[in-house]
């Protein structure tokens, strides 16, 4: 009995050690590096930082999120929506999305979804996103005003000309 318990403990320790090693071995790479080198990272655990884009999607193929960094993008599959509890901001015109550090296994051609993408194992918000506000420059406002005045003036001249033609 005693030896059986020791064996179980040993297996548990070994599993934990293996997991830790696996996690520590996950190279942190850029999204660009992953997109440009799919063969290199195929079916390997990777870690990367990127912005959450759009919204979480619950589709016929599972739960998905999309990441973006420097005009590179990638879809990420996740088994449970609970993994997204910490995420609040999703990149759009009005929001700068949360910058997250994710870990997962990259598939050049996932056998389940038949798509290229990552299967998420962990997600951490590194920098919280924010609501974006855009200031309109005075230059733009003035230019808009000037172009409107030009438009209205020429429009009125055209209408006067039309009415003169009609009188003729």
């Amino acid at each position: 009995m005693k030896s059986k318990g020791a064996l179980s403990f040993f297996i548990l320790i070994l599993t934990l050690l293996f997991s830790l090693t696996a996690y520590s071995q996950a190279p942190t790479i850029s999204l660009k590096a992953l997109v440009d080198n799919p063969e290199k990272y195929d079916q390997k655990r990777v870690s990367l930082k990127a912005e959450l884009i759009g919204e979480p999607l619950t589709t016929d193929t599972g739960i998905w999120l999309n990441l973006g960094a420097n005009d590179y993008n990638m879809g990420v599959y996740l088994a449970e929506k609970e993994m997204l509890e910490k995420a609040h901001y999703w990149g759009s015109y009005k929001e700068k999305g949360d910058i997250v550090e994710i870990e997962g296994i990259f598939y050049k051609n996932c056998p389940i979804h038949n798509q290229r993408g990552l299967h998420l194992t962990a997600l951490e918000v590194v920098t919280q996103g924010k609501e974006l506000s855009y200031l309109v420059s005075d230059k733009k406002k003035k230019f808009a005003l000037v172009s409107m005045v030009i438009f209205l003036t020429i429009g009125v001249i055209y209408l006067i000309k039309i009415s003169l033609w009609q009188k003729k």
Binding site: I53, L57, D71, G117, A144, S147, M148, Y158
Partner: protein, 494 residues
């Protein structure tokens, strides 16, 4: 002898152009309204500037250049050619002001891509673009697809006598109804019905997968414009791959195919004979070319499962053949396709959809006639020397393969092939790989929008200009541009 335009001709052309530009200014009110509704301050000013500058230019042309001559074919060809150029330049103003483009050239590229229903993009940080700018990007495809000129035809009553010139100049060769105004209105009516159906279908799918109701309704409209007008823009950098939805992929396929059908066929199916779809020459040519190319594309993927084949091949080929340019592949996947599969996609892009549809490319009718011509020649060799025979094809009616049809098909075919190759050579000259250069050149000329990665804000400016010209020439099927250049040369020679 070339009929050389006079100053009176130029005045008439610029007057017609002024009317079109006023129409464009009116269209810009749509994104302006979206900016108001969605409280997008900066884009509001972008569109205010765009609409007022375009409107002012339209009025100036109307004031300074009255119609001095009865409108003729040359005027309409000029107007069509200049129409696309001026629309893309003016349409680029609000895009440039958005701050999402590295230069005005990039914004012009995007606008031309929209109006020509191509779908190649140079926009940066697309995922953070405003609702109003996205509305404008997608609306340009609707305007270009449904035909800037067709829209105007419905309004310009005095242009009735030469309306066919606008219509043919725009690369649509067949009339559906006895008069072109009636044709234009039929196209608008059919498009509106499909719009309602398409938007409803896309809304339900998008809302179900998790998009908010507001996003779903906007994106449903955008995706409809992009699919039915075979444009290919999407609000996300990942294109259709962003949504990860099989149902959306199927729904986009349906509207891509509907958009690639000849509008004559739509008319026939709606008002006359539903069986025409099985008998029609273009439909049969499409089935033949599509499945032949699908076989070519699938050969390197043998052993993959159905879902894999659908995602990796079928969708791209439909998108290429209809000239839409949507992709359900993640970034970089297309570039990794085997050579044989890439060639299949390139051939599909080269061919395109039906004449009198929103697609670009050589078109199914011409490809079919070229096949028939080859068949005729083979028969001529086999049959006795004095034998007389006539080759027919069914397109709404039984028609003869005449010398005139063969000549017209070959002229357009050769012009497209020359442009495809010339564009590829330019890109090769800039150091890009051969197959990617051909892919991108065909995609631009045939107004498709699929990309192997050459089209990027960092590409050489000269190449951007070449692609802009290719998109413009491909959209108008060369004729209107050739007529314009020929007439201009003769004007300056005088």
């Amino acid at each position: 002898m070339i009929i050389s335009p006079t100053k009176k001709d130029l005045s008439t052309i610029l007057n017609l152009l002024g009317r079109l530009i006023l129409g464009l200014s009116f269209f810009m009110l749509v994104p302006l309204l979206v900016a108001v509704v969605m409280s997008e301050n900066s884009p509001f000013f972008d569109f205010l500037i765009g609409t007022t500058l375009s409107g002012a230019l339209g009025f100036i042309l109307l004031i300074l250049f009255p119609i001095k001559k009865e409108i003729s074919w040359v005027h309409t060809f000029f107007t069509v050619s200049l129409g696309w150029l001026s629309f893309s330049l003016l349409g680029a103003i609000p895009l440039f002001l958005s701050g999402h483009f590295g230069s005005f050239l990039d914004a012009w590229f995007e606008a031309m891509s929209g109006f020509a229903t191509t779908g190649l993009i140079l926009v940066q940080d697309l995922d953070h673009m405003s609702f109003s700018h996205n509305t404008w990007r997608h609306l340009t495809m609707f305007i270009g697809g449904q035909g800037i000129i067709l829209a105007s035809l419905s309004i310009l009553a005095q242009a009735r006598s030469v309306a066919i010139g606008f219509y043919i100049g725009e690369g649509r060769q067949e009339k559906i109804l006895p008069n072109v105004i009636g044709t234009a209105r039929f196209i608008w009516k059919v498009s509106f019905i499909y719009l309602v159906l398409g938007v409803a279908a896309y809304f339900l799918i998008l809302n179900r997968i998790g998009l908010s109701s507001v996003k779903s309704i906007f994106q449903a409209f955008w995706l409809f414009f992009a699919a039915f007008d075979t444009g290919g823009f999407t609000p996300y950098k990942q294109s259709i791959a962003y949504y990860h939805s099989f149902y959306l992929e199927v729904a986009t396929i349906i509207f891509m195919i509907l958009g690639a059908f000849n509008f004559n066929l739509h008319f026939w199916l709606w008002h006359k004979d539903k069986k025409e779809i099985f008998k029609n020459f273009e439909t049969r040519t499409f089935i033949f070319t599509f499945f032949s190319l699908l076989l070519l594309l699938y050969l390197p993927f043998l052993g993959a499962n159905f879902s894999g084949l659908f995602r990796n091949g079928f969708y791209q080929l439909i998108s290429a053949h209809t000239g839409c340019g949507f992709t359900n592949l993640e970034q970089g996947v297309l570039g990794g396709f085997p050579l044989l599969s890439l060639l299949a996609v390139i051939f599909a892009m080269m061919i395109g959809g039906g004449v009198c549809s929103t697609t670009g490319g050589i078109k199914l009718m011409r490809i079919g006639i070229i096949f028939k011509t080859i068949l005729i020649e083979i028969k001529r060799w086999i049959m006795p020397a004095g034998a007389v025979f006539r080759e027919k094809f069914h397109h709404l009616n039984n028609l003869l393969v005449t010398n005139k049809r063969i000549k017209e098909a070959f002229i357009i075919f050769i012009l497209f092939i020359i442009t495809y190759v010339a564009g590829a050579l330019v890109a090769i000259g800039f150091g890009y790989p051969g197959i990617a250069s051909l892919f991108e050149s065909v995609s631009a000329t045939a107004n498709v929008g699929l990309s192997m990665g050459i089209t990027d804000p960092s590409m050489p400016s000269a190449l951007k200009v070449v692609y802009i010209l290719q998109m413009w020439a491909g959209r108008l099927e060369f004729i209107a541009i050739v007529v314009m250049i020929g007439s201009l040369l003769s004007f300056f020679k005088k």
